[in-house]
Symmetry: C3
């Protein structure tokens, strides 16, 4: 099992949810974060002086999938959220050792 | 060290905190998320048409414990938050490579 | 690649962002959480009876770095946020298997 963690532009959440629905990817969770990447956010002008606004609002979406679904899921995310402009986001992949469905007590891949 | 990540119904947070207090499980952190599982959330009726509400509010609770405490902690969570209805939640277990208590600089299991 | 997850006092976020800027650490994300550690939070007095306030607001900052930058980054965090008082926070280190820059499709260390 792997956790795919995608940090995306807020306006890409709805298109991504639709894409997941179509692709039958069901389990996921979502939260708001602030972040910066290579550009340290953008620079704003405040009364003539430059102000570093180095934290932009982003959406983090987490999906745990079985190993065989990782590459397709990553491709789907990129195809759905990519604009080609800076700030398109990042995807991090981590290993998950176990998963449990609390209702049934199921463990492992069947519980994902 | 392992990270136990439990996604639960919001109304189960208080009972779970009480259970942890009794079991002397001390370190944890909590945040609000939106999520969906097998059922893609529930379907609501909005002026006659169906609306897919595919993100429900959930609570994510994270607890880092030493390896010997994983199974007892998982059991305690299930016993406390399980209702038997769909949407009871998920538990994910991940490996943690190191832990540091910032105040003392302690590292490893003693810092958990 | 490693994920460094630091849970710190909210008032230490600005100093830490400044320290990262100076050290040329660019990618990070930030969120608010509630948490408790060894002390189960503090105890408040409410109309004469003790009330356990076992969740304090904290900031969680996540930084993915290449392996060679882990120790310097950890040291920078500790040096910047440590007060020596209880509640200074925790750092957790986890392994990250892959990273993708969505704009370019770059993968691995070059995408961090
Ligand atoms: N190394 C990192 N560690 C943790 N979070 C990161 C890291 N790099 C980026 N992020 C998160 O991803 C978000 C989007 O990053 P962003 O797309 O700007 O990456 P980038 O490397 O700057 O690529 P680009 O040059 O295309 O902008 C950031 O706001 C931050 O939340
Ligand atoms: N594969 C997954 N990846 C990431 N988060 C998930 C995943 N599956 C579930 N979740 C999270 O767990 C929450 C609760 O899931 P839920 O209990 O509905 O799981 P389920 O598999 O649908 O089980 P049930 O059939 O008992 O409802 C979701 O709202 C979501 O936040
Ligand atoms: N074992 C743990 N698992 C998950 N989160 C933790 C754990 N321990 C601490 N935290 C998080 O770190 C925050 C700060 O913890 P804190 O600094 O109080 O640690 P501590 O072990 O009690 O050290 P100190 O004795 O210096 O207070 C907590 O509010 C919580 O969010
Ligand atoms: Mg950027
Ligand atoms: Mg469900
Ligand atoms: Mg403490």
């Amino acid at each position: 099992m792997k956790l795919i963690e995608a940090i995306i532009r807020p306006e890409k959440l709805e298109p991504l949810k639709d894409a997941f629905l179509k692709a039958q990817i069901k389990g996921m969770n979502v939260r708001q974060i602030l972040g910066c990447g290579n550009q340290h956010g953008w620079v704003a002008h405040n009364r003539g002086s430059e102000v570093m606004m180095n934290m932009l609002p982003k959406i983090e979406i987490k999906i745990v999938v079985t190993d065989d679904k990782v590459e397709d899921t990553v491709k789907l995310i990129i195809d759905t959220v990519r604009t080609g402009e800076i700030g398109d986001g990042k995807i991090f992949i981590k290993s998950v050792e176990d998963c449990i469905r609390i209702r049934t007590g199921e463990r492992g891949e069947g519980a994902v």
